[in-house]
Amino acid sequence: MAIDPHTNSIETTVNKSTVTLESPLNLACGVVLAKYELAFETYGTLNHDRSNSILICHALSGDQHAAGLDKNGKAGWWDHYIGPGKPIDTNHFFVVCPNNIGSCFGSTGPKTTNLDTGKPWGANFPSLEVSDWVESQKQLMDYLKIDCWSAVIGGSLGGMQAMHWAVAHPQKLKHAVVIAAALKLSAQNIAFNEIARRAIQSDINFKQGNFLEHQTSPTKGLALARMIGHLTYLSDDALGQKFGRLVRSGDLDSAEKELVQFEVSSYLNYQGDKFATRFDANSYILITKMLDYFDLAQHYEDNPVEAFKQAQCKFLVVAFSSDWRFSPPCSEEITDAIVSADKDVAYLRIESDQGHDAFLLPNEHYEKGLGQYLQRVAQAISGASL
């Protein structure tokens, strides 16, 4: 890897890799993955003492393409926040974003071949927990010969990984940035996930999860699951402002109302269909269950304060005012537990009408807060390397 911390590029250079990790991964469910593949991207340059690395943890439907443009010119899912001069500044940091196991963008998951059977894993892919993702990221860290992340950053399910890192590997990170996350899901959140899974399982092409063998795909069910999910990531206000009661086709004043299609309907259908072509139905089921199972304090007598007492890092916690899937009170619960554990934390409640999706979208106050926090992290690194 090139080593020049003074490179100031304008474009984000994307380095794509896939690594086969041969150290066995002991999953929480008891299954051992003897070897597995992780696809990942990196941005920026690793410094001499390998101390400027940041791990980005993706959420439910995320992938390794977090920043820059891919070969088709598509920008990464967090491109607004990662890159030269951006809040996660690749002029200072070496940023690593893996696609996590169980997902479907090149890392081992339900779509890949089970070496024992020679068939796709499909529905037989072992059940996963957030701790499994963290352990696989830890093996990637060892492979990259990084001893300590300067920060682990994630939104939503990504924030859960950042918290788990802090508690499970206290020596391995200096900062955890936990955005729009929760200590555990609420009943309403689990219920939304269950509806999504039921939608997929009800598709005639699901075939108990073995649709790949039948050379088909439950795209209708998966699209429906995504439509439900997508809707819950937006706020009433954001939808109202974007679509209101705008009509795409047909005429509300005519007698033939059945020909009317609202803009919001067309938008949601499009989002669902687009998602169904890029995502794997088994991955969706697997990863929504990971969200349901997550409970940071589970092994700490259900006391998040005890969990956070393990941590050695500093925390930045961020919530968005109109997010009702992972609402500000969820982030405030995290913050209160960190304060009670006597650990350092800053908590920002960002005003936004964009719902849960706000963590991916431009927002001046959010950009400033995250950028200033990480600027201090960068200063501490350059101070230590002098």
Binding site: L316, E332, T335, D336, V339, S340, D342, D344, V345, A346, Y347, L348, R349, E351, H365, K368, G369, Q372, Y373, Q375, R376
Partner: protein, 196 residues
Amino acid sequence: MIDANRVIGHWINPQSRILDLGCGDGTLLRELTNLHGIHGYGLEIDPESINQCVANGINVIQQDLNAGLANFADNSFDTVLMTQTLQTLRYPHLVLDEMLRIGRQCIVTFPNFGHWRTRGFLAFKGRMPVTKQLSYQWYDTPNIHFFTYKDFEALCAEREISIVDRTFIGGRASDLSLDKIWPNLFAHTAVYHLAR
């Protein structure tokens, strides 16, 4: 001239756990951390001030004091501080009670409305006072309660809050010790050390 932050520095214990309600840009917490090695957290609501805290590496938590402090456990801090904020709260007396529940001791500073300048404004100009400590016009001021140090002490007596110590700060009047002799006339800022 005495500086309120120096007085506060004398009243807190080194290395103690401190909560600052309405911490602004975090200057006081940073000073106490550098000088006394405290472990501090600040609550603030203004996004600009919060950003400055983040830039300064202060533990800042975005929280509205008027929405309550129920998220903090009893006796979870050694000292709870509040500087020049009491007069902006909807229910100052309830926040004082909460401060004494959360902290083993409290330190409060506030502008003394009995100061001769504010009295003069009202008495001679017939206008609501606009001074260095109370620098807003009446229609857009965050300061919604005006009280003198005597009012404050009456409230403490009523709510059985014990005054451990107090200091008055009076600008140039301090040089002549006038703020010691007639604090209600010459102190523009009052600093109180409270306990239950």
